[in-house]
């Protein structure tokens, strides 16, 4: 038998689960969330939107194809969504100690240990998911050897600060192509890759950066973790940008920030959408797209003025999935058109954004 260290997951409401450790052995705390995506744990773990969160995967067999290498392209890691594991910890049902894949360089366990992130297996993740579904997302902690710690709430702090960059970085700088400012609220690298692929120069700036001081053609507000209302500075900057009619594209947190900048409101969902199978209908049509999602907050459509229309709506629960200004070049989506992980169905939105800049 494999002798692995026992470890306990304790939820805010007192429920607990006993499992075994396969990652770093240290007690941690955060908001416990579940994702139902069946592939893409390297992408998910490095998604900065998971900052401060303990991620439970509902798909039980994890680690099967190991972890790829750190090759780079355009100065960006090819196989990850940021340069490190962002989630606080990982919870799975059945960890595959032996992996197999041509591009794997190490096991998931090795990677978690390297990055000092706990991982636990042997958990009834379906039971955990049902608790979160019924009682709502809640705080939790992973406790080793009775080394108890207190609960930490990532939504109570300005967590974006922890995942953004310090100084602006320019990618794919070439003459005669459009320049995009990307506000990094914890950006997934595939957003940048998608812009580069479309022959755009990308100026990636910190979340609170005053980008209006420079010349550019379009603005992208990235995804990111936490409560959007914590991003006061970003909301303020975006508000100024739309006053200048700068073509703007918000993704995920960016959707919420755009809504807030336009005077609307956001609210916390009971347990959020974290999966790769969310159907989003293009409002006014019967066209529906399968999208990747990772968010705990949503835009309250009713809070926006009549100048704004709903772009997409969730076909399952009717929540807002995007905004579009009726006359001006502003759009945003709650889901992830850049995917990674997940379906590539809505990548066309980057093209829509480019069209908007013309």
């Amino acid at each position: 038998m494999r002798e692995y260290k026992k470890v306990r997951l304790i939820l805010e409401n007192g429920d607990y689960f006993d499992g075994f450790s396969f990652g770093a052995e240290r007690s941690v705390s955060g908001e416990v969330v579940f994702s139902t995506g069946m592939v893409g744990y390297p992408e998910s773990l490095t998604d900065p939107s998971y900052k401060g969160q303990i991620l439970a995967l509902t798909y039980p067999l994890i680690g099967n194809y190991g972890v790829p290498g750190k090759e780079k392209e355009h100065g960006l890691l090819k196989n990850f969504e940021s340069d490190k594991i962002q989630a606080t910890a990982l919870i799975v049902s059945d960890y595959s100690f032996e992996y197999s894949h041509w591009n794997a360089k190490k096991s998931l366990a090795e990677w978690l240990k390297e990055e000092n992130v706990p991982g636990i297996y042997g958990i009834d993740t379906r039971k955990l998911t049902k608790i979160l579904r019924e009682k709502g997302a809640m705080l939790g902690k992973i406790v080793f050897d009775d080394k108890d710690i207190s609960f930490f709430d990532p939504n109570a702090i300005d967590i974006v600060k922890e995942v953004t960059i310090k100084d602006p970085i320019i990618y794919n700088e070439k003459p005669n192509q459009k320049k995009i400012v990307v506000v990094d609220c914890g950006i997934k690298l595939n957003i940048i890759r998608n812009l580069i692929k479309r022959n755009l120069t990308v100026i990636r700036v910190p979340h609170d950066y005053d980008f209006l001081t420079q010349m550019f053609d379009g603005l992208v507000i990235s995804n990111g973790p936490g409560d959007p209302k914590m991003c006061a500075k970003t909301i303020y900057n975006v508000g100024r940008a739309i006053k200048h009619n700068i073509p703007t594209f918000g993704i995920c947190l960016g959707n919420q920030i755009l809504a807030l900048a336009a005077g609307g409101n956001t609210y916390k969902l009971k347990y959020g959408h974290r999966s790769q199978n969310q159907p989003c209908t293009l409002v006014g049509t019967k066209r529906c797209h399968i999208t990747t999602q990772n968010h705990g907050f949503a835009v309250d459509m009713k809070s926006l003025s009549s100048e704004w229309q709903e772009y997409f709506v969730n076909a399952n629960d009717g929540t807002n999935e995007g905004l579009k200004h009726k006359t001006k070049p502003f759009m945003s989506v709650q889901f992830h058109p850049e995917a990674t992980p997940g379906p590539l169905d809505t990548e066309f939105l980057f093209d829509e954004f480019i069209k908007m800049m013309k």
């Binding site: 579940f34 509902t58 798909y59 595959s96 894949h101 209908t281 019967k286 076909a315 379906p343």
Partner: protein
């Protein structure tokens, strides 16, 4: 939501798939039934054509009109002419329906009668079916297909292969289950395979062979608004080179990264859009194991075996949705039938792993090759659900019901390990286990098998656990290790076998000891739901499995706390509280001898229970069934039909009782074991079942009742057997006890044969001695299917076999009501059945088989359960025997007058064989069952019903040339009148030497064709190969021929070249008589309702 702009047809014709055969099995009963339900919900009138009488879809009320007629263009056109439907569904009846649809379209029939093809259009179907068009179409959107070229002749295929370089793969257009395909490593091999392939089709595709690449499938759905989803992806455990129907398959894929998964998904969507498919399609890929390079192998523009699997694996009702989409709905307008709160426009998220394993029955055939490859040979499949790969693979192996207990703790040996790994057979996964035990490295096994290392490592985990467990005994096995074993899918039996060091005495007690121990340790399985969304939304439907990888049940069982107290009382009074539940045990994997007919029985039992207000619980693990549909029962346990698992579920559910008499032999065999654990079995007492199953007890009973039976003995050694046979006289019938479909059953004409066969039979069942009985020749076989209550006969139907006794009842052509049987015989049979029913106090369904010779009647078999022919007799007599049986088991009043014998029409059930798929197998009828399916047709007289049924299994009226080779003189004489009729009808008759001579002596002109082994022209082989013969009548000389004979070569050649073959004298005679007296126009186009 805005009103959908639908152009709904008023009346839709649905084409079924006909008889079950290798490559096209029960999955199309599922898809057709779902299609009919979807149409019905829309208020659309439905007309179904399907001669498969054992299916749910051909049951009363499923379609408004049911035609038990062949799915061929002739009959479909006739039905269209009569019914005038305005729409037709082609995607729900497999390759049969699709091919028939293309033919009708091309001959302008749809246009002529203004029938609209619903869903995917013919052009798109052609783009996927015609290999050259397929490659061209995908090239248009820059997608990769294997380097290949279509050949229209054998010569052309050789030239293409030369260019591509060997090895090459050849594929046949419009073929099901890879028929005629194969890998050729050199020119000689290609020549042979190419010739055979052209027997099926005018076009063959020669492609670069991608052996060793990963094989991945996606199920894709598209609506007419261009919304596309992939419902499921699947990964084959066995890499490219083994047909996906022959592969172990997991869902979702296990070794694909996000990038690979979504790249292939994206391509699937591009393909479905480009082809313009509306509804469902399946796409198969080869994926390079060392890069993201891929090839698109195949697209099936219809519901398929894979889509049935995907539907059961995910809970997504693919067939139902596909039917709605064909009517013009969009995916967002359709609700998710499982959650009932979300929409059909989503992709299921699984929080479990599913494995499919093929079920082969190769040992049933003589001379068949055991190797598996690019052609399908498996006859069924099982699906296991769990939360670990180790768990599902072990579950699945047990589900195959071939005496294996999982990956380990089996008694199986391999001689040449390397060969077993390299040249896959049906047992390869066990060879991997043995190799690991012998210390062969995982890398070496990977080299030989090309199976991904990930799967091999998981198998090794099980081998390791077995090793660890073997260091302990029942007294000191540690809890954590026991738990690990249970989580890895070890059964109590496996653990018992390991802990008790292979001491096989009293295994039942030992496994109960293990059960006790693990319960003491608190190691119990939990019930989990399949809800399509990984618990993200609450599911309303109870689609369940059990696992040890979890802490709590998804279902609240507290409601049932007080059930047992009530039910004991209720049972005594024979009154049941109507709010109580009943478990119906399903039939397991389709295999030879147990097929869709038992699923029909199970489903009808469940429907009867539901109508009576019971909560219905089904246990079954066959993804090709209707019984495992989400809308059939209140709770479906997609799990093992084992003693351990049924008891687990019983303990959780605490139902009113368990019905074990509907699912064939698997549940029947559990009767006694469950009874001993105080499980409430409904219907006939398990003690009576045992009395019928145990030869000694049953024989004693017959003697007591003064009912005749063939002389028999139970032999424990070859000497004993020889002694009996010498005394009773040859031929003798040899069979092991407690088996279905006559596995290892055989007839020996002399001592040499007897000794030879005993070896085989003894191997089959060591614990049970061999039963040898006198084999009665030239006798008729008659069956009774009946229902009794408290020993009183309630309803019965008597059917006769056309073939003389000696042909397994599953392979026999059955006639109801009997046309040739004496009244006296029928009266006696009824009387005997009544007496048996009374003495065994039967309550529920039963079947007795008789042998009759000149009014002498002997009982040869008695089953106290529903038999294979229950759907046939129910549909022919129009009395639902299962409904009555279920009510009778619940103690309800069922007495009445049921007319089952005085009918104005005749029903004929005919077998479907799949010999063409089983290379080398001798296509003869024997006491071993060989057919994979059946059809049942009605007619105003025997000839009409018989011809319809024969046309339904692939025969047609020959136009010109017939080859005769009629065996022993007795048969020659028997068939003489028939041959005269053939001559009268101006057929050109060819015959082999003896037959030709005999015919000449009797004044019939016959062209002589030399025997195959004579190598002289004109030779029978040449004529067959050149397709100069349209039908072959070859009657074998003896019951069991071992060596390769001339006869065998002729039969095999006929099968390989798809030439209809008759091997039974009685059938041949009836066929000739029927075509002599009837023309095609004489076959009435009447629906089931019109009889």
């Amino acid at each position: 939501m805005e009103e959908p702009k639908l152009n709904k047809p008023k009346k839709v014709l649905v084409l079924g798939s006909g008889s079950l055969k290798i490559g096209q099995a029960g999955e199309f009963d599922y898809s057709g039934s779902q299609c009919l339900k979807a149409l019905k919900e829309e208020g659309i009138q439905t007309v179904l054509i399907n001669p498969n009488i054992a299916t749910i879809q051909t049951s009363e009320g499923m379609a408004d009109k049911i035609y038990l007629l062949p799915v061929t263009s002739y009959f479909v056109e006739k039905v269209i002419e009569k019914e005038k439907p305005d729409g037709i569904m082609l995607a729900f009846g497999g390759q049969t329906a699709l091919n028939c649809g293309v033919e009708l379209h091309d001959s302008g029939i749809f246009e002529k009668y203004k029938v609209k093809v619903l869903g995917t259009q013919i052009d798109a179907i052609k783009d996927t079916e015609d290999r050259e068009l397929f490659v061209k179409t995908l090239n248009e959107i820059n997608l990769k297909t294997p380097e290949s070229k279509a050949a229209n002749s054998v010569e052309e295929s050789l030239a293409i292969a030369k260019k591509l370089g060997y090895p090459v793969m050849i594929r046949v257009a419009y073929a099901l289950g890879g028929a005629g395909s194969g890998v050729a490593s050199d020119e000689q091999e290609l020549l042979e395979k190419s010739k055979r392939a052209f027997a099926y089709s005018n076009q063959v595709l020669v492609e670069k062979y991608l052996g060793g690449w990963k094989e991945i499938e996606y199920e894709v759905v598209r609506d007419s608004y261009d919304n596309c989803i992939t419902v499921c992806n699947m990964e084959n455990f066995d890499p490219m080179g083994i047909h996906t129907g022959e592969s172990i398959v997991v869902a979702p894929s296990q070794t694909l990264t996000n990038s690979e998964y979504h790249k292939l998904r994206e391509i699937a969507i591009k393909v479905i859009r480009h082809l313009g498919i509306v509804g469902e399609c399946n796409i198969q890929y080869a994926l390079d194991p060392y890069s993201e390079d891929y090839r698109i192998i195949e697209v099936n523009a219809r519901l398929s075996r894979s889509s049935a699997l995907a539907s059961k694996a995910t809970g997504y009702p693919l067939a139902f949705v596909a039917a709605k989409l064909a009517l013009g709905y969009s995916l967002i307008e359709l609700e998710n039938k499982i959650t009932k709160v979300t929409k059909s426009c989503f992709e299921p998220a699984l929080d479990y792993i599913v494995i499919k394993m093929p079920r082969w029955d190769l040992q049933k055939f003589k001379r068949v090759s055991l190797e598996i490859g690019s052609e399908m040979k498996s006859v069924g499949e099982v699906m296991a659900i769990g939360r670990k790969f180790e768990e599902v693979v072990q579950k699945a192996i047990r589900m195959l019901n071939i005496n294996l207990h999982g990956l380990v703790a089996n008694n199986i040996q391999f001689n040449d390990m390397e060969k077993e790994l390299k040249k896959p057979t049906d047992k390869r996964i066990l060879a991997i286990v043995e190799a690991l035990k012998k210390g062969i490295s995982i890398e070496k096994i990977h080299d030989l098998t090309k199976i991904d290392l990930w799967f091999l490592h998981k198998i090794k985990n099980v081998v390791d656990t077995e090793k660890e467990l073997s260091q302990f005994g029942i007294s000191d096995a540690p809890r954590e290790l026991m738990k690990q074993a249970k989580q890895q899918g070890f059964s109590d039996f496996q653990i018992a076998k390991i802990l008790f060091k292979n001491d096989r005495n009293k295994m039942t007690l030992k496994k109960l000891e293990v059960r006790k121990l693990r319960k003491k340790y608190g190691i119990l399985p939990v019930v989990k739901q399949i809800d399509t969304l990984a618990a993200e939304y609450p599911a309303k439907t109870n689609y369940l499995y059990l696992t040890y990888n979890g802490d709590e049940d998804d279902i609240n069982f507290d409601m049932s706390v007080n059930r047992s107290a009530i039910s004991d009382h209720a049972q005594k009074l024979k009154i049941f509280d109507n709010k109580k539940s009943v478990i119906v045990l399903g039939s397991g994997a389709y295999r030879i001898g147990s097929s869709v007919e038992f699923d029909w029985c199970c489903v009808n039992s469940v429907l009867a229970l539901a109508k009576l207000g019971y909560e219905t619980i089904m246990i079954n693990y066959n993804p090709e069934t209707v019984s495992t549909d989400y809308d059939v029962c209140d709770r479906l346990y997609f799990d093992e039909l084992s003693f351990e698992r049924v008891l687990d579920i019983y303990e959780k559910e605490n139902p009113e009782g368990v019905i074990i008499s509907m699912g064939g032999q698997i549940p029947n065999n559990l009767a006694m074991k469950l009874h001993k654990q105080d499980v409430r079995i409904l219907g006939t007492s398990p003690l009576s079942i045992d009395s019928a199953e145990d030869r000694h007890k049953f024989s004693k009973l017959l003697d007591e009742l003064k009912i005749d039976q063939p002389e028999w003995t139970e032999a424990k050694s070859i000497e004993e057997a020889d002694k009996f046979a010498a005394k009773a006289g040859y031929p003798v019938l040899i069979r092991p006890s407690y088996v279905l479909s006559g596995a290892a059953m055989s007839v020996a004409a002399g001592r040499k044969e007897l000794d030879q066969y005993l070896q085989k039979a003894v191997e089959v069942s060591k614990e049970h001695p061999v039963v040898i009985s006198k084999f009665i020749t030239n006798a008729k076989e008659i069956e009774i299917d009946a229902v009794a209550q408290n020993g009183e006969l309630i309803i019965y139907a008597i059917s006769e076999h056309i073939e003389n006794a000696g042909v397994h009842s599953g392979d026999a052509t059955m006639v109801l009501p009997p046309q040739y049987t004496y009244h006296e015989t029928i009266r006696k049979i009824k009387d005997i059945s009544k007496r048996i029913a009374k003495s065994l106090s039967i309550t529920g369904p039963f079947n007795i088989q008789f042998i009759a010779k000149e009014n002498q009647i002997k009982v040869i078999e008695c089953n106290l359960r529903a038999s294979r022919s229950f759907p046939f007799v129910s549909k022919v007599t129009k009395h639902n025997f299962i409904d009555l049986a279920t009510k009778s088991m619940l103690g309800l009043e069922v007495k009445g007058k049921y007319n089952t014998m005085d009918l104005d029409y005749v029903g004929v059930k005919a077998p479907q064989f799949s010999f063409s798929r089983l290379h080398g197998a001798d296509p003869v009828l024997s006491v071993e069952m060989a057919s994979t399916g059946e059809v049942g047709c009605l007619g105003d007289d025997l000839g009409e019903a018989f011809l319809k049924s024969l046309f339904s299994v692939g025969f047609s009226i020959p136009k010109k040339n017939i080859l005769l080779s009629t065996g022993p003189i007795k048969n020659k004489a028997y068939l003489l009148e028939s041959v005269k009729k053939l001559a009268e009808m101006n057929f050109t008759i060819y015959a082999t030497e003896g037959t030709a001579k005999f015919l000449e002596e009797n004044g019939i002109k016959a062209g002589l064709l030399h025997w195959p082994l004579e190598k002289k022209e004109p030779n029978a082989m040449t004529y067959l190969q050149e397709r100069k013969i349209e039908i072959v009548i070859n009657i074998p000389k003896s019951y069991e021929e071992e060596e390769i004979t001339n006869d065998y070569l002729i039969r095999r050649k006929a099968v390989d070249f798809n030439i209809p073959l008759l091997t039974n004298a009685q059938i041949a005679k009836l066929f000739v008589d029927s075509i002599h007296s009837k023309k095609m126009e004489d076959l009435e186009i009447k629906s089931w309702e019109e009889y």
